[in-house]
Symmetry: C2
Subunit: 483 residues, 2 copies
């Protein structure tokens, strides 16, 4: 652990703004009856419920099941049937006893929700339960709300939800999702930081997160995919090929935004290290394929072959490193040479000239992930890339994005290749698909053709406020400036 | 509410002694695995469990079900199937989330148990849960343990369990049971006080409880069957015919033990009031029958007819009042006259000369409850009573005691009529039946012929440490003095 970096991370730890939201109660519930409270929008915070008894003096503990739901749909779900591979512990269901009535029950855990559903599992024949008041102390490290933009009702709705999504994920760190994992992930951080620069401009929070990753890198410079901060700062034991490389553009974007030379001086060696480490995955200039699930992320799709996309991310990151070095008036030529040979080899190895698309793996799989990353890596020029994206759109078999994370990169690729109109259309359709389904915050996963998707074996653990989906607020301000 | 009495009750509120009990952990549990910790004896207190993770850094909340069991048998019970008429909230099952590991989870609720069973409902594929330590801060207002008595291994075992039972129920009040209802009940109080005088001699706790009942009596002098103390002191909305009358002997016993004239002066008018109130249930000198369940307790038997027993309790209480008045050099003659006429009428109305037993109700039901109370009321002389009890024992159809509460009165009746040997034998058999089944504390209910009995529709809510069963410690010291 680099204690100097850790100290710098801790020095940039933000204070949280606490705000109280209250809904009126008054409902009287008998055993097995339920009530739902709607706070009107998504909140992250600490709930408190005021209970009393109606009838004779309470003479037995009341037993209550309290569910915290991010979406209205979750209210009706049978969470007990969830049997997926990630922890049931993420399901925001609590079973509580009330020994004394009246009482104010303050939950010690933080929840992410819009709705609170309370079900009386037991009272006694002598009393019914009354819920007198429900309140939430919401927390965020985002500054006060900023004005919404967008040129249509739909765009304004999307922007509002995007801003909300980002602010809900801004806590002591940029969290991936305030319901799950409540944790700093590198891939999410990069998109949050980009959106933050266009919106809340809480740049010290980006700095803190960069230092947290740097502090927890291992002796060889491997950056973890995510960082734990409780009970102490600690790295996860896994790295992702693409996430580690994306440390470079995250650092570059931060420098472009802030001009903070001290941070660059501290963290540049680690950024360079990422190229050195990633290079080991190559046979000459061609990246090795790997069937280990999760070695490289790209998108939350189990079918996706990652080989070609990983090479594209490498080129993208190395190009960014070269740009950064040049801005610092340092020698970038070894990286530029490497970019050139890796790009040439990528075209040779992955580009299917007949189809005009990049393919990946032995099965020569076509996917948005692969092609989008080659566009972002600017292996071809903008005009060629625009045509490539047209062909991609027309390709029925191409594996589509499943996460807003991958969808962000698709929109970025459209913007980079000059097709702002299509970029905007995609945002309207994809993110608009969520707002039209009533989203208060954007979701971790959204497949318009299969909205009940979950890679976890059950929707009950999906996150419905997820950082990586906040980028419409970035695109609106950076690319659709006339709005 | 009589605030003067309340003040006196509060002034006598005891301090609790806190003691820490620890069992070593070290068990590593995967999802669905369980572990049981045995504290070696029954405890009342606040548990704390130290958890940590084994494997990679914890990356999801752990979900644990923790059950607190008074008996080993409960460990195997399916509590989720309980569907009886009193609150499921009494079942000592907790479902907790652990968001940060390692952690020490301190339960805020008080539990009564010997065993703690923890079941891991969820971790994540990356870690298993380790329980490092389990401790309990036990609480009681009983003084340090006192020497066990008894002339055999069995009697010593019974006495030890009886002492433990009483001390576990001695908290800020004499509670009926530390699992359920955790509350001051008049019928229990009387037996606890009797045992207390022979053992812990915490007489201020008796005083406090007498004042709590007196403070919460209504304007007409009706004493509640039980008193709530949380959040504030308050009476229950029900009175029991026999319990209210038993305020008189409870006060009398307290006076005999302490000579505390101040308390007698305060509470005697209320004691007299009980006779006045009870008298209203009579048609002339014969008590009215009542089919309302629970108007008079006597025993936890749904089949029991209470008419005759209630009249016996009345006579017993009124006789005690007369004794008390005489000791205070006051005029007891109106009560003595009433006792005489009520006794005569009872014999006329309830005594079946042919069978030589008291009967109750239209069905002329024979029960231990009815006959025992007539023995205690000394409607006949001791020798006659001894014969009556012999006939009772021989009567196959007599409804037997189901609670240790009723069993106490049977043993008292045997002792009062001079049959110490039989009293002792009954204790050995009945209470010994519980110790032989592994009881650390005596139970609320014990029917040797049907040990799985519950009047609540399910054993899961039965109390296995119940005040009214502590009286062997009283009998051993008061009647079997040679032991």
């Amino acid at each position: 652990m680099n204690l100097d970096f850790l100290k710098k991370a801790e020095a940039a730890k933000p204070k949280l703004t606490v705000k109280t939201h209250t809904v009126k109660g008054g409902q009287v519930l008998a055993e097995r009856e339920t009530v739902v409270y709607d706070f009107g929008t998504h909140l992250v915070g600490y709930p408190k419920i005021w209970f009393s008894s109606v009838g004779a003096h309470y003479d037995a503990p009341a037993l209550i099941k309290v569910r915290f739901c991010e979406t209205a749909q979750e209210l009706e779900e049978d969470t007990s049937s969830y049997n997926g591979w990630i922890s049931k512990g993420w399901i925001q269901d609590e079973i509580i006893h009330l020994d004394v009535l009246p009482c104010a029950y303050a939950f010690k855990r933080r929840f992410a929700f819009r709705y609170i559903k309370a079900e009386v599992m037991a009272t006694s024949p002598k009393y019914r339960l009354r819920i007198d008041k429900v309140s939430v102390k919401s927390v965020t490290s985002a500054p006060e709300r900023i004005p919404v933009c967008g040129s249509s009702k739909r765009e304004k709705a999307i922007d509002k939800v995007a801003l909300k999504t980002l602010s809900e994920c801004m806590q002591y760190e940029f969290e991936d999702g305030p319901k799950r994992d409540m944790r700093l992930w590198l891939g999410d951080l990069r998109l949050q930081a980009l959106t933050n620069y266009q919106t809340y401009r809480h740049n010290d929070l980006v700095k803190r997160c960069l230092y947290l990753f740097a502090a927890t890198a291992d002796g060889e410079g491997n950056i973890s995919q995510c960082v734990f901060t409780k009970p102490d700062v600690a790295p996860d034991d896994q790295s992702l090929f693409d996430y580690s490389l994306l440390f470079i553009p995250t650092l570059y974007d931060y420098f472009k935004e802030t001009g903070d030379r001290q941070t660059i001086n501290d963290l540049l060696p680690l950024a360079e290290k990422q190229i050195e480490i990633a290079k080991k995955r190559f046979d000459g200039d061609l990246i090795k394929d790997c069937d280990k699930l999760g070695w490289c992320f790209l998108d939350w799709s189990l079918d996706l072959n990652k080989q070609a996309g990983a090479q594209a991310v490498y080129i993208y990151a190395e190009k960014t490193l070269a740009k950064l070095l040049k801005e610092l008036h340092r020698d970038a030529s070894p990286y530029e040479k490497d970019v050139a040979s890796k790009s040439a080899k990528a075209i040779e190895g992955f580009y299917d000239k007949e189809r005009g698309l990049f393919v990946s793996g032995k099965q020569r799989q076509i996917s948005y992930a692969t092609n989008v990353w080659f566009v972002l890596a600017e292996v071809f020029k903008a005009k060629e890339n625009a045509l490539l994206l047209d062909r991609l759109q027309a390709c029925k078999e191409a594996i589509k994005p499943i996460t807003p994370y991958m969808m962000h990169h698709y929109v970025q690729a459209l913007a980079d290749s000059g097709n702002i109109g299509e970029a905007r259309k995609v945002i309207g359709e994809y993110w608009g698909g969520m707002t039209e389904r009533g989203a208060d915050t954007f979701w971790e996963l959204f497949d318009p053709e299969d909205p009940d998707q979950s890679p976890y074996g059950g929707k009950a653990v999906n996150s419905y406020c997820h950082a990586w989906s906040c980028t419409p607020a970035y695109f609106f301000r950076k690319y659709f400036a006339e709005v």
